[in-house]
Subunit: 154 residues, 2 copies
Amino acid sequence: MRLSKRGEYGLRAMIMLAGSARENEPLPVVQIKEISQREQISSKFLEQILLTLKNAGMLHSKMGVGGGYYLARPASEITLGQIFRVLDGPVAPIKCVSQMAYEPCGCPDEQTCGLRLVMGDVRNAIVDILDHTSLEDVAKRREAVQQSLGLTSQ
Amino acid sequence: MRLSKRGEYGLRAMIMLAGSARENEPLPVVQIKEISQREQISSKFLEQILLTLKNAGMLHSKMGVGGGYYLARPASEITLGQIFRVLDGPVAPIKCVSQMAYEPCGCPDEQTCGLRLVMGDVRNAIVDILDHTSLEDVAKRREAVQQSLGLTSQ
DNA sequence: TCAAAAGTCTACTAGTTCCATAGACTTTAT
DNA sequence: ATAAAGTCTATGGAACTAGTAGACTTTTGA
């Protein structure tokens, strides 16, 4: 049940972009190089990932001096599920329970396949989380954790 | 977030073994060939999978004429999570949230890593299902579905 | 106007994993 | 003794993963 490095890096980059937004300021434009340094990711690999995300409409970019990437929509309107699917494909653990990419799995009787019933539950549990967690939610949650750590360490 | 064929076939085989048990009868001994035919799985591939499951202590076997495989413990004491881990490794989508195989994931600050917080939730959701669903649970659920289909089709 | 700074695009590759298949071997019942 | 079953190890092709390389385009601003 593994998230690929591609997915991990892409999600981390998007979360970083959402986290560097400040209220009442324009969306910050951040360079690949800066993201790769802050998140410790190979910049050439990250480049491909951001390009994919851009072509999927989740990021916009500016070329040339002073250019970089920024979120295509407000952080509250981009969910982790959307990002995940662009980079790692369907969320479902097995194709016969996938909403986005259904395929029969080859069991003798799909309707009564026990594995399918359980994996359907697993799929729903994952989707519930990923599709209902926006980049904004993640940023807020991180801030909350940071604050609680700050308070308890005093 | 994919379950491998290995994991899928192994789970299906175990579910089949649990499903072919009858009350007040000794655990049925089933041959590889029969499982592979009923579940439409390459018998040589299945052979390796069952062997792995046997070496992990989840199956027992009998060699020779009239031999085959049978569950090493009652179906109520074998969970899908146990089987999954033997065949596909840790359940966690990312190593830094794995209980069984923790490794740092390389993010700058693990404690406040937003991705890690969310993936921890995902891990917990999956584990909740897989570790609390036994082979017996699956068999009962399948029977319930079969009954409800039988009733409504009359 | 030109050079530097940035993203864009395509190709390549070493390594790994996945899904098997093959075949020789061991154990057991009759 | 023989046939039926599981055991074990090796091999192979295909796909995928994580990354590297390099030539190209667009934009800014000196």
